[in-house]
Symmetry: C2
Subunit: 501 residues, 2 copies
């Protein structure tokens, strides 16, 4: 038997071109697939052999199986008709960057393992930081710096560990049970998970209630009141997560005033701008992160709305030493003169994992392929499409926009009075409230929309109200898709209201 040659350039070239064509065809035809996969749990295990193949199979066969067996189980996040969760922002430049990263296949844990990986990351993090007009002390060109992680969950975990250790170094490690972490009831669940992971006592995880009347934002006075109560109890406020663009409704916590409260108690402020951070490269949105100079760390997911494909979380910190103190490791086999010289960044000490991919390439390619001016226009186009969708919703009196639209997410629902007739019997019987009926009908409506396969939206429940979320930002989405999406909503509404009539 001839020994296989898994990186033979000729075969790499042949198969690589085939895969490019497969994916280009996929994008050409993507609108034809049901956006939300319509398979049943367990569908694939039935189709797959129980054992790994002993012998090789040609790429042609594998691609056929991919088309036949895998594609039906894919939910098409790149579809122009994808409006669920938040977008997973893909682009040719992001894709090429991943190709390069995968092709070089280097493990850039420290500078010497591949200097360009570390240095390009420093360059692009400064570029993006400047475009966002982050204060200079978040940049390498100041005294701070940025790092590319996989996801916001990692950004939160590493900053939380740094904040914990900073505080414990003052009050003693044995007092870990006294540290308090603050979030709002709209904050991403990543903070709760990270707090649990690092050993914050569950009774010290403070979830502050938000209200519809203040657009589900975390109020500085609520934070202050919670902090004061904890301090009186002898607890130690440690970390607050401020969100610019919450997951449910893109609520914008008032960063400046919250930082003021935090400063008084030396609380670490992390700004989670996972979704909305990217659009702050547009001057008209930048004011939403005013006050960031009072924060300790700031992160956004470039894979959500900055075209880098998954995964790519950009984290900036004012004090990299705080990360390094908590996360550095020493291994003899990684010793090298560049690290010893202290002239280089070793990113392994800025993150949880040792190994790391070369994510900077895709950020670099996105910047260079599109340019900042085009990127701004492109993000604005999503906001414009969201405005158009919002207008359509407003014109239909059966619906309401549930919270003010801030970016390119529209939260809407069928209003209780529009479905009152249906629920009326039950409401009169006292079994059920009008709001509950509305929730139930909106849930049915969303199921019906998604079951159509023509669009995919998701939901949130805020202040007890079930709302449908239409998140615009898939890279292939054009205005016509948004208009069609609204048509689908209306058609399905008509059908449901008629059916229940």
């Amino acid at each position: 038997m001839n020994m296989m040659k898994p990186l033979d350039p000729t075969e790499f070239r042949r198969q690589g071109h085939m895969m490019i064509d497969f994916l280009a065809d996929y994008y050409e035809n993507i609108a034809k697939y049901p956006v939300l996969s319509q398979v049943e749990p367990g569908y694939l295990r039935k189709l797959m052999p129980s054992f790994a193949p002993l012998n090789p199979e040609p790429i042609e066969t594998i691609l056929q199986d991919l088309q036949q067996h895998i594609l039906p189980g894919i939910t098409h996040w790149q579809s122009p008709n994808y409006f669920a969760y938040f977008p997973s922002s893909g682009s040719t430049a992001g894709f090429l960057g991943e190709m390069l990263s995968t092709g070089f296949n280097l493990v850039g844990f420290n500078w010497v393992s591949s200097p360009a990986a570390t240095e390009l990351e420093g360059v692009v993090m400064d570029w993006l930081g400047q475009v966002l007009k982050l204060p200079k002390d978040f940049l390498f060109s100041g005294c701070g710096g940025g790092v590319l992680l996989g996801t916001t969950c990692e950004a939160i975990l590493v900053t939380l560990v740094a904040a914990r250790d900073q505080m414990l170094s003052k009050i003693g490690r044995e007092n870990i049970g006294k540290l308090v972490v603050y979030v709002s009831d709209q904050t991403h669940c990543a903070v709760q998970k990270a707090a649990h992971v690092i050993g914050i006592h569950p009774t010290c995880f403070r979830v502050i209630k938000t209200l519809k009347s203040t657009s589900f934002t975390l109020l500085p006075e609520s934070l202050l009141s919670a902090v004061r109560t904890d301090v009186r109890k002898g607890l130690v406020p440690c970390y607050v997560c401020v969100t610019v663009g919450t997951t449910s409704t893109t609520a914008i916590d008032p960063l400046g005033p919250l930082c003021k409260v935090a400063k008084e108690y030396a609380i670490w402020v992390h700004v989670d701008a996972a979704y909305a951070g990217s659009v702050c490269i547009c001057p008209e949105f930048r004011h939403l992160i005013d006050g960031v100079e009072g924060a300790n760390s700031f992160s956004l997911n470039a894979h959500k709305w900055f075209l880098t494909n998954l995964d790519c979380c950009c984290l900036w910190v004012k004090d990299p030493t705080s990360l390094i103190k908590s996360l550095s490791t020493h291994s003899v086999y990684l010793e090298n003169s560049a690290s010893d010289s202290k002239q280089v960044v070793d990113y392994k000490d800025w993150q949880i994992t040792l190994s790391r991919r070369f994510r900077a390439l895709k950020v670099w390619l996105v910047f260079r392929s599109y340019g900042v001016a085009n990127l701004r226009s492109f993000l604005r186009s999503h906001v414009e499409m969201a405005k158009a969708f919002e207008e359509l919703v407003k014109q239909d009196k059966r619906f309401e926009i549930f919270v003010p639209r801030n970016f390119a997410l529209v939260c809407f629902r069928l209003i209780p009075s529009a479905v009152a007739k249906i629920g009326n019997g039950r409401v009169q019987n006292g079994h059920i409230k009008a709001e509950d009926v509305a929730n139930e009908i909106n849930r049915k409506l969303l199921d019906s929309i998604n079951g159509s396969g023509t669009v995919y939206m998701t939901h949130a429940i805020v202040g007890g109200v079930y709302v449908i979320r239409c998140a615009i930002g898939a890279s292939l989405t054009e205005k016509k898709h948004v208009i069609k999406a609204w048509k689908v909503v209306q058609e399905r509404t008509d059908a449901i209201l008629k059916q229940l009539d």
Copy 2:
């Protein structure tokens, strides 16, 4: 201005093909580049503009800059002359899998977000588990299951959190300060970092000394003795990491006997087979993980020696519920009927992060493109090449093989007597020991080898001795490269010994 179309299929196809050719050319010419990048710290910042480009640039210009500015800063992990650290195991199949994952660009946090992503992961993890002959209770087809994470650091972190929480649920959360984690002085630093992150008290991180006479393995009697001492002190043993193939020398901790000790004290056993796990698909190596039935979790890095490209860590656990209890989160906006039905796996609850890439594709492609039989032969070919290198070293009396070779890593050095003449003056003056001289000369030798750019090896210091590590396993490496590598070592040795004569 026309709005940019970042996922235009025509442009995607054109640029994608260009990038495939770029990378295929790169592999064709890879042996011409210095393996270890020879740039100085800060080289790239000088070459890069201080600000992000405002306007787009053509891909042709970007590729030129890549070639001219980035490539010199790359350490070529895919070079056939790369023998450093452990390999970053790349292949066409792994690359195609990443292309697909990046192209679909879906975020498979739970089943419904893309059923195929979850289901294929379950399938390939069972395939690989079966090929490794893991006990059925680590597989989905038993009562366990596997998950694809990024790196071993994540596998260790999630299992450590699960072990911590399992123990604290018995002894009370307030006793976190009593939990003890055990490793050897050869265990990967990931465990120390993870223990720190999850709040294990630094005084409760037990590093057990290993000895050259027992090949730097963790001895069951040493573990038992450490555990007993801790129990007597009122501490609570919680977690031990057993390594099959340590980073420095690929030492193999005796899994079976260590599990017996652990069982007696209900200690969670994690098996870190990051490097050597892959080769256990060969029957002749499988016995090295005998006893795994006594462990709680087992992980290997498929990106180290299973051709999946970075990153891809395979983790199996006997009790997925223990992970889920520690790591599950609830977010209203992720609620769905499939999750409610409990019939599906939601991998977000098996890991730190919420978002996750579709890594199963590359494992699937590697299995299908190469087949288990070829994969076995390929891994064996690396072991054979290492044996050949070992023989060459043995034939040169100036050198010794420092520890027995277990897999495809050879740890060797110039022996003290070979360099005694050089150090002699200083040794006689009593300033310095013969072993220290040997360490110094071996370090110089490695610097000289790596400075040549023709090969790249790294070092370890074990038992106070500086050894050179030659890790064979880069996908392009053939026997001729190994022979050449040894020639480089000898030439550089001659030069150094002559120079210092």
